[in-house]
Symmetry: C2
């Protein structure tokens, strides 16, 4: 088989080749059951074992403590923008740190259910920095503080989660970690709830991961749909409504792939972090030493997953994208709200893919000289 | 390749073998794009074409009129139990006809958002009949009337949709057609909104079909999450939030399979209806002529899709199921709330599968003689 193209999509995004191969091989007959995974009752022992294994593997990979529940839901991050305040706001005050397009959307949606305050923002500098936690004006009695720990569109990432207790607040921290989950460890001691769509680092679109501290369950507003009430979902092991069975199976295959990964002495998520650091450094270093390309994000808060960059001469954008596609470098166009280019280099992107991108960027620059 | 087992799961359920084979073949590289469908941005031209084709094929198959919108959503039927009243109730009065487990759940969930009246019920006879529409006491000013047009658990099906106008009501009819969609034509002139999870007749779990009359859009309650506001979903061609891309692709393959089906002079849904009638008649006739098995549903409202039946001697249930599995007849155990057996014979179940079941039932009876 020839080399597959490198796919830099921001999500839905590339899936490890060996995961896709296993899924194809098992499509008509999983593990001798005579059924494909898509065809199994979610109440049958075959699928129950697939779901239980996926949850156990994820708990191990992310080192999720026992007092957190792992939920597999539907609707993606955008639905969670409503589901989180329906479950946690008690109709009171909730705080948002706005650092890009996603946290902005989250704050707006929360206003349907609660008083949503923006307690810090990087809007004034075009979402290219992160406001230091020491300056956040957390509301007294805030039911939670929401951050997007990696802004997919703007390429800004929290490399350390804020310690709200140190800031004098007992509010739980809610993180939208859709686009960097499983790319690095999570400091659960600082987290109340984490949510993310699967379609960047965990598998296919259509399943949403929610990891929630057990004491936060059971306080949903009365208008919260039962299917989205965390207490109901947790009590039914994510099977109150029919779960997106195939997406959970695919995510489970990705978890097993993650467990097999090694990088030097590291395995699993630690291996991914080492590899992701290497990939990000390669690309940012190249851009920073170039007069042709530019990344506008402050160095200490650049995302390891999503690298937006611009050609200084934007009239060459179409030629850049066409040449990239010819070299098998796909889906590099930037988000419409930012423009330019964006390379999403999630877990499934090997270092060789980033090297191929850098090689192409160098070559393209030469052809323009 | 040897014969696959016959899978009688109530859902998620069997998928046509040739659909699974095509999906497996395209897993790593769809149509020469170098990407699997799971890996494509939902905003890219490849996936946009897949989604547009799926919608067009479904519109053609089900003969959906132009003044209805087709939405692909998430959360399944149970989420729609909340999403429908959030969108259509205006917080007023909504009516339910309770005919089994699913309509019961729908009525209960609607009470979070509206005054939900049960205007007819078959509870007194154990959900084995259908209350005649002439006797329904539709509320003046009801925002809609909800029925479950096929009760998956109790095996009761409306073979004709009620004509609410003839009953003197202008309320739109809402149908939960999860478990018989695409098994027969739909009389859209009588319908305001139809919804269904895909995992019975349309494809994998994780995508929910909503077909809604255009004039019913735009009246969602303020607490309706944006991702579940039909107006927002329709305006964004089902891509306000990242859609469950792979599930839509799989449903699209099923739609193409449906379009290829022929039965005598019939094609598409008409062919499926003819075939489904033949399958249902074969199984019900056998049961009705047996002293060993029994189906308790009144003959004129028996489901063509879900056939619950009992062994008169229920001590033989485990032996029946074990023997069935040995013959490659899978997932025949009845729903826990009803007991006994249930054969779900959706579109993907060929007549040969029902014949194999009947042959086994006859043989099993003989071994007990």
């Amino acid at each position: 088989m020839t080399q597959r193209p490198y796919n830099f999509s921001a999500g839905p995004a590339a899936i490890p080749e060996e995961v896709l191969q296993q899924a194809a091989a098992e499509m008509l007959n999983w593990n001798g059951s005579g059924m494909g995974v898509m065809e199994m009752s979610h109440r049958g022992k075959e699928f129950m074992s697939i779901a239980a294994q996926a949850e156990a593997d994820l708990r191990e990979l992310l080192a999720v403590p026992a007092h957190f529940r792992i939920l597999f839901m539907q609707g993606g991050g955008l639905a969670e923008n409503a589901i989180v305040p329906m479950n946690l706001s008690r109709g009171g005050t909730v705080d948002f740190v706005v650092t890009g397009g996603w946290s902005q959307k989250s704050a707006k949606e929360a206003r349907k259910y609660a008083t949503a305050n923006v307690v810090a923002s990087n809007e004034a500098d075009g979402h290219t920095t992160l406001p230091a936690p020491a300056g956040w004006k957390i509301s007294p009695g805030a039911q939670y503080v929401h951050i997007c720990s990696n802004e997919t569109i703007h390429g800004v990432e929290f490399h350390e989660l804020p310690d709200l207790k140190a800031l004098g607040s007992n509010a739980p921290l809610v993180i939208d970690f859709s686009s960097h989950v499983a790319s690095r460890p999570v400091d659960w001691a600082r987290v109340g709830l984490a949510f993310g769509g699967a379609q960047k680092n965990l598998g296919p679109a259509g399943v949403t991961l929610v990891v929630v501290r057990e004491d936060l369950l059971g306080q949903a507003l009365s208008i919260c749909p039962s299917a989205f009430d965390y207490r109901v979902v947790a009590d039914n092991a994510s099977m109150y409504n029919t779960p997106p069975t195939y997406s959970i199976y695919m995510a489970g295959l990705v978890f097993q792939w993650l467990k097999r990964q090694k990088e030097g002495d590291f395995t699993g998520i630690a291996a991914m972090e080492a590899r992701n650091l290497g990939k990000a450094n390669l690309l940012y270093n190249f851009i920073d030493h170039s007069q042709f390309y530019v990344n506008k994000v402050a160095r200490d808060c650049r995302s390891r997953m999503n690298v937006p960059f611009f050609l200084r001469d934007e009239s060459r954008n179409d030629a850049f994208l066409a040449g990239a596609k010819e070299r098998g470098l796909l889906q590099l166009k930037g988000h419409k709200s930012v423009g330019g280019m964006r390379a999403s280099i999630y877990n499934a992107m090997p270092l060789a893919g980033v090297q191929a991108l850098v090689d192409y960027m160098r070559d393209f620059e030469k052809t323009c000289a």
